[in-house]
Amino acid sequence: MSVVTDLSPKAAGGGRMTGLRLTASRHRSWSIVLGIAVVGAILPVLAYLPPFSLAQPANAWIDGYTNAGVFVLLALGLNLVVGVAGLLDLGYAAFFAIGAYTYAYVASPFGNSVLGINLVESLGTEVGGLVFWPMLLVGALVAATFGILLGAPTLRLRGDYLAIVTLGFGEIVPIVFLNSDQLTNGTNGIGGLLRPSLPIIGSFSAINPWPYYITMLVLVSFVMIMCYRLVESRLGRAWEAIREDELAAAANGINTVTVKLLAFALGASTAGIAGVFNASKLVTVSPDQFTFIVSFTVLSMVVLGGMGNFWGVAVGAFVIYTINNVLLKTLNQFFDQTGFPILKDIDFIQLQFLLYGLALVAMMLLRPEGLFPNSRRKRELHTAITADEQDSLTTAEGTTEEGQR
């Protein structure tokens, strides 16, 4: 969708946008900042109220929100690749890993020794922590570079094959990190990472969740604004076009290779940002943080939240993460304590992936457009005929039956 300058409400296809949606699209950036600010203010308040306050202390909630935010970022990025451009990337965690390890190399003693620089020692924690902020950009760029490197030879493959190749890549990267003891400290991972710091506030702490929380709110706002801007631009139209019909898109002057590469690179860079942030919060990076499970979880979030819809994906990611990490844990505790006969023996945390699987299958069968769909996607996914099918309905040079469609 392009930026609207005249006053007639244009819709996301076949209808009129009204009220909230219309205002939001006209003042996109501000509505995002406002939205995030409102949500960002409400969530901590909720943490102090029952029943939330009974489940865990408020600080734990806020810390949990921040961790959920990491997945929100990942989901936003993957949404660009899968939801908007229609490229199935099953190895997204690899870019997450690359961002994290990039930060580790610059902000840890081990990493420094590998690179041959002396940042951590010479600058100390307070000043060294300042490096976090530029590293957000650096991590994004490094991840984007790998996105391009992966995408360049593979993006001309058809969807299923691309999925497998990205899956392979997603497997290879952690294995490489795992086995290169000299460079990456292997299974032990790299520890002692610097926490971010700011001039007046000083270094972020492990105990006070607020600096991380607010930083995350800012990052999410930024990424969301960028995502919306991109989607509502010439590039976004190109992505939509190639998602709908790649051949027709090329036939209309769109350089499909460039456009796909950009989607990949931008998605990867978002994962890179998330990786840097996550590394600075956990202060260690290790290969087992970046398994296929992570890629799969983020994919589930995108699918369940509504492919193509950024707010939907963000909310979906947040909800899924919180359900996962709080609800299931709480259910475990609850049933353990109350001693229900069968339920107390079930490890709900283990169950989560079973539930994911069931949810994904159910979603695809019943509501493939996700919980908060883009109205356009809804139409797209509930259709019986796609372009490929159209081709197969025609013979090489005969007329078709479109009139009756």
Partner: protein, 348 residues
């Protein structure tokens, strides 16, 4: 509709002689590797590793066949197929271990034969049923949906299978009764080769030949080929598409089940996540051989087996998976049609 090529590029006209050349090159490479192996390890160890590789390869080949058949007929990469293999392994260990109460080797030959036959039958039958059910309820409704939907569903099914098994059997390795005695060996030159290896290779070869005969000579096999080539035309010719697709899944799953049985006999353990990695490697094998091509899948399976065992033999065990995935990426990038190209869906 003919199964489309893997890339969007237009093809160059292929030269028939090129196929022969390629196979010769492949044989030359294999020969070179064999020579290297003998040099490094000595003929004895090399022979043992050879049979090791063939055994491994046989297992991958059986799994790869399912991938390639399903892809050839509905152009879906069935992510859950690797997990069918895993389920097969667990079904067989349940049958042998818990239902029949066996624990170790069975030396009474008639009894062993009976047990093996029973295990294969039961496992393959159950897997066939599971495969058909999954196809009917998870994939069939999405046959006309955009490509993303069945792909995601397949991933979902894969996770469901893995986690159901994990719930029942726990996250750790479960023992699988190795009823085929590994003490039975034969001598090949100075090398010691377990009979079990020969058995596994034999089973795989028999099944593969059976499959080729089925596809090539029977009515159902013809139905499969024509559906893969052009679904609408096949339907117009009276082929029952739904049944044909169901049968494809049936056969593919049964073969994966057989792979699970032999895996249990050979390694004696099974874990809920065996399917994921094995599946990826088997898929690599299918792509390597030429997706949609059953002979290619078999060939690819053996090649992957060789690569894996070779990597281990040379001390690169930890890098094994990475190498195989590397092969996958390289094949898809440079030669997506694989070694033998399309077959199930090829135009005349």
């Amino acid at each position: 509709m003919t199964a489309l090529p893997a890339t969007n590029d237009a093809g160059r006209p292929s030269v028939p002689a090129g196929r022969v050349v390629r196979l010769l090159v492949l044989l030359a490479i294999l020969g070179g590797i064999a020579w290297l192996a003998v040099k490094n390890m000595g003929a004895e160890q090399a022979t043992e590793q050879l049979f090791n590789a063939l055994t491994r390869g046989a297992i991958y080949a059986l799994i790869a066949l399912g991938y390639t058949m399903v892809y050839g007929i509905i152009e879906l990469i069935n992510f859950a197929h690797g997990d069918m293999f895993m389920v097969g392994a667990f079904v067989s260990l349940t049958f042998l271990g818990q239902i029949l109460g066996l624990e170790g080797a069975v030396t009474n030959i008639p009894l062993l034969i009976a047990l093996l036959a029973a295990t294969f039958l039961v496992t393959m039958a159950i897997l066939a049923l599971v495969g058909v059910t999954i196809e009917r309820y998870a994939y069939k409704p999405l046959r006309n949906a955009p490509r993303l939907a069945p792909l995601i569903t397949a991933i979902g099914v894969s996770f469901i299978l893995q986690n159901l098994v994990q719930l029942v059997y726990g996250p750790y390795q479960t023992n699988s009764p190795k009823i085929f005695p590994d003490t039975w060996v034969i001598q090949v030159g100075s090398a010691t080769v377990p009979v079990l290896s020969l058995f596994i290779i034999g089973v795989a070869v028999v099944l593969m030949i059976g499959l080729q005969l089925f596809i090539g000579r029977t009515r159902l096999g013809r139905a499969m080929r024509s559906t893969a080539a052009d679904r609408d035309a096949a339907a117009l010719m009276g082929v029952n598409i739904n049944r044909t697709i169901a049968i494809t899944f049936l056969i593919g799953s049964a073969l994966a089940g057989a792979a699970g049985v032999v895996n249990g006999l050979q390694y004696g353990v099974a874990r809920f996540d065996d399917g994921f990695q094995a599946g990826l490697k088997a898929f690599t094998a299918a792509v390597l051989g030429g997706i949609g091509n059953t002979v290619g899948a078999a060939l690819g399976g053996f090649i992957i087996g060789f690569i894996e065992v070779g990597a281990t033999a040379m001390g690169y065990t930890r890098w094994g998976p990475a190498i195989v995935f590397g092969v996958l990426v390289i094949v898809l990038v440079f030669r997506p049609a694989g070694l033998l190209g399309q077959q199930l869906g090829e135009r005349a």
